[in-house]
């Protein structure tokens, strides 16, 4: 249904036009304390079109995919663009388009596992946790499998098909300490369908044991000291710095709305130890979790080097912002569902590894914190960012000490990055949904870094 030849509709295009068929398929399975509270599939498919008239966009979508509905959405998108153009008449120039023809299918092999086998896999993990750790007040295991299939044609000549699956397993453990719940979670997964990502329930057991042990340490943990502290951010959470602290402020739409990064182009924005890249599809020879070969405007995807050796080099663009800044776009315009228009979004954003060893970095801290796991985060136009930390330890005289309770860390992104004086030689990727009008998958990565950061302790 999605993979079909759309060339026949090109004669209906007038002016710059995109036509996209898309299907999002999702499986959600949740066990809470052994109860299968959620067992649900969803399929959302449809057609959309977007038309550009002199600086005004029109968009339309329909869940029915047929010749008639495709004609209707092209016409409605054109009507919407004309209506807006008639009201505001921006009189902007047409785009200078780069085009691409591509086909990127990451589907699993033909012999797919059954729904029953998937449920048994999750039940086996649940049984392991239930038997080994009966004192937990809550154990929650969630499996989320999503397939996103897109077929795009543009009036400029791009024709792009992609099928991008993602599988995520989340285990959430809760204990009670002094009458209050204490929680910790871990997740596994990445690019691929279930059978390509999760192979054997036993592969998770040692990690589950680690989460349980860390949870017990946190239950006995203390509050961190509020204020500015020297911290080692583990590679598991440093990626969020790349995404939240810097990435969002360098999205061109944020820049055009007054983001602090607007005044920093070609200036020192970070320590010379910092190089930050938004990878399109391949990093260090491996396919990224969110591989984008062409974006939803039909632009060929390229890596964007945002910061190079501390100097701010590039923003991330769609066609319109690239025209405004007189550069060429590199494939950052992405849409979540068929009914969504493309927005400037990150893809796989990472701080590149350095040369230090994590052990040396910890030993170098006289009094500070080692922060190891994180939850949600948020950026701001000022460059001030925050993210929640749900696991960490006090460091005293170079030695890891007591665990600390959950807290939030914050700082001014570019000031914080200037305090970075050690960068480890490792790199950890993780993926997460990111919300900006639409929820979309992104991945983020980084090494461990030593920096000064503000802790929201007590």
């Amino acid at each position: 249904m999605i993979k079909q030849d759309l060339n026949a509709f090109k004669n209906l295009f007038s002016g710059y036009t995109e036509l996209r068929l898309q299907e999002n398929r999702e499986l959600l399975l949740t066990f809470v304390n052994g109860n299968n509270v959620l067992n649900k599939k969803s399929v959302t498919a449809g057609v959309s079109s977007r038309v550009y008239k002199n600086g005004s966009w029109g968009f339309s979508s329909n869940p029915v995919i047929s010749k008639a509905s495709i004609k209707d959405v092209i016409k409605d998108a054109n009507d919407n663009a004309c209506f807006l153009d008639s009201k505001i008449n921006k009189n902007k120039k047409p785009f200078n388009n780069k085009i691409i023809v591509c086909n990127n299918d990451f589907s699993a092999k033909p012999n797919r596992v059954s729904q029953n086998e998937i449920n048994e896999y999750i039940k086996e993990i649940d049984n392991y946790v239930a038997k080994k750790y009966p004192s937990l007040v809550k154990r929650s295991i969630t499996l989320s499998c999503s397939d996103i299939e897109k077929n795009l044609i543009t009036s400029a000549g791009s024709i792009c098909y992609s099928m991008t699956p993602n599988t995520l397993l989340v285990i959430h453990l809760t204990t009670i300490k002094d009458g209050k719940p204490v929680e910790l979670f871990e997740y596994w997964g990445g690019l691929g369908q279930f059978e390509d990502v999760l192979h054997n329930p036993e592969q998770h057991y040692s990690d589950i044991d680690n989460i349980y042990n860390e949870l017990m340490q946190k239950a006995e943990g203390e509050y961190a000291e509020a204020g500015l502290n020297t911290c080692i951010l583990d590679s598991r959470l440093a990626g969020v710095l790349a995404h939240e602290a810097v990435g969002h402020t360098t999205e061109a739409d944020f820049v055009m709305s007054g983001s602090v990064a607007g005044q920093m182009m070609s200036k020192q924005a970070a320590s010379p130890l910092i190089t930050l890249v938004d990878f399109a599809n391949t990093a260090f020879g491996e396919t990224c979790t969110v591989p984008i070969y062409a974006d939803d405007e039909g632009t060929p995807a390229e890596d964007v080097v945002i910061i190079e050796n501390g100097i701010l080099k590039n923003y991330m663009h769609n066609k319109e912002s690239a025209q405004y800044f007189d550069v060429h776009p590199k494939g950052n315009a992405r849409a979540s569902q068929f009914s969504d228009e493309p927005l400037i979004r990150m893809r796989n954003t990472a701080i590149l590894p350095g040369k230090s060893k994590l052990e040396d970095m910890i030993e170098s801290v006289e009094d500070g914190y080692y922060l190891t796991r994180r939850v949600n985060g948020q950026a701001d136009s000022t460059g001030e960012f925050m993210f929640g930390v749900n696991m960490g330890y006090h460091i005293k005289n170079g030695k890891i000490g007591k665990a600390i309770k959950d807290l939030t860390i914050s700082g001014m992104a570019f000031e914080l990055l200037k305090t970075v004086d050690m960068v480890s030689d490792e790199l950890t990727w993780n993926s997460t949904p990111c919300g900006k009008k639409q929820m979309i998958s992104v991945s983020m990565g980084g090494p461990a870094i030593r920096c000064k950061v503000n802790l929201g302790g007590r």
């Binding site: 067992n39 969803s42 959302t44 919407n80 729904q115 701001d380 000022t382 929201g456």
Partner: protein
């Protein structure tokens, strides 16, 4: 096939495929949306969407599927899928569907957008921002009309029909003057019909004015324990978090709720009364049918500090023995207090007026820490200056236990009606 007939068609198909109990829900939505990006009109978007949810219970096993196609082939495939999902699930005696209820039709709001009026309202808002608040940058504004028709039916004979139309305005904005940039702030409100200008709704003019004042924000120096005056916009986030960790089904039936075994006991300040009123005339984006298939009713969660109801569905109720709540949450209304906002500020010795909280998701214990965004330092009964780079930490449960005053004034966002709340014992720390 008419949508109403489609419900019976789906129930029959589920029955034929072996479901002992079946439930279906069809929602069709038309959306018309005008966007402003980086201060300029950018996009008009019109979308049609449909969502058909099928649930089957067979041998005490349950499966659910949602598709967005309603042709016979898609429904047949979905029925096979949902039976397979049910067959693969864990059996549970507590799975059920709602009992027979008399058929009802519910209707709220307009059924078609006034497109020209929407454009002129938004254009007027843009012009008023430029004239009255020249340093405001409208990063992203979305003004939409949404019309949804819902059918709900189950094999016990319940059939509900709900139609609702509402306008939604949302904006992310900040201020910029020369090289100074402020934090962004958010506006989000819903109305059933277009009557008053955008800027006169939901405290918007105050938020825009305060954003400009933040061009002169100063980092707060030092650390103290003091009062926190929470705006309605910020309170909305705290209430939703309180519901997640204290009232939600998962927290209640797993036993991790901070309010477990506290029904009819004092859990908050006696000044606090919280309702979940999806049927209130004053709530533009309410609902008439709950996800578990009951006619929704207004519900009081906390009455004068006493816990009156959790938010558990039929399944949660069967599982725990706790009474099912008649509301499915949302549409939160907090009763007005007896003090005017200015009077509340005058009573603060040292504290913070918080406009937006940006922090890590509070834990199940209610502990939280994060940045006080769009906030002002208060000392000796006066707002002193806007602050930047200021963090707060405390415990959410304690905030609602230690309420010192609730304002007479409230803000109606169309999904909630909330006052300003003054509490104490918050750690406020700066550089």
């Amino acid at each position: 096939m008419k949508d109403k007939d489609l419900m019976q068609y789906c129930l029959d198909a589920l029955n034929k495929a072996g479901a002992e109990k079946g439930q279906c829900r069809l929602a069709k939505t038309e959306k018309y949306e005008i966007n402003i990006d980086s201060g300029e009109f950018s996009l008009i978007r019109s979308t049609s969407s449909s969502s058909l949810g099928l649930t089957a219970i067979k041998d005490k096993r349950k499966g659910s599927i949602t598709i967005n196609k309603i042709d016979n082939k898609s429904i047949s495939d979905a029925v096979i899928d949902v039976i397979n999902i049910a067959n693969s699930s864990q059996p549970d005696d507590n799975f059920d569907i709602s009992p027979y209820q008399e058929s009802k039709v519910f209707h709220i709001g307009d059924n078609k957008p006034d497109k020209d009026k929407m454009f002129s309202f938004l254009n007027e808002f843009k012009d008023q921002c430029s004239e009255k608040f020249p340093y405001i940058c409208l990063n992203q504004v979305v003004f939409s009309f949404n019309y949804t028709e819902i059918y709900f039916a189950n094999s016990n004979g319940t059939l509900f029909n709900e139609t609702k139309g509402y306008y939604e305005f949302s904006s992310r904005f900040n201020s910029k003057k020369d090289k100074k940039t402020t934090s962004f702030n958010l506006i989000n409100y819903f109305v059933k019909e277009l009557k008053d200008s955008i800027i006169s709704n939901a405290g918007i003019a105050t938020q825009l004015k305060q954003s400009q004042e933040h061009l002169n924000a100063q980092p707060f120096r030092g650390k103290f324990s003091g009062d926190l005056l929470i705006t309605p916009q910020c309170l909305d986030y705290f209430i939703q978090t309180l519901v997640r960790i204290g009232f939600s089904e998962q927290s209640v039936f797993s036993g991790s709720s901070i309010y477990i075994n506290q029904l009819n006991k004092l859990v908050a300040s006696s000044l606090l009364t919280i309702h979940s009123d999806p049927l209130s005339d004053n709530i533009a984006k309410g609902y008439a049918i709950t996800p578990d298939g009951y006619e929704a009713k207004n519900t009081t969660l906390i009455q004068n500090g006493i816990l009156k109801s959790y938010l558990v569905s039929q399944y949660g109720s069967n599982k725990t023995g706790i009474k099912r709540s008649s509301s499915a949450g949302g549409a939160y209304i907090i009763d007005s207090g007896n003090k005017e906002l200015l009077e509340m500020i005058k009573g603060i010795k040292k504290g913070l007026l918080i406009g937006r909280f940006s922090g890590g998701n509070p834990t199940g214990s209610g502990d939280f820490s994060g940045i006080a965004k769009n906030s002002f330092y208060i000392e000796d009964g006066k707002i002193q200056y806007p602050v930047s780079e200021t963090m707060i930490s405390g415990n959410l449960i304690s905030i609602f236990k230690q309420i010192k005053a609730i304002s007479k004034e409230r803000i109606n966002s169309g999904t909630s009606i909330l006052p300003w709340i003054l509490s104490d014992g918050i750690t406020i720390s700066g550089k």
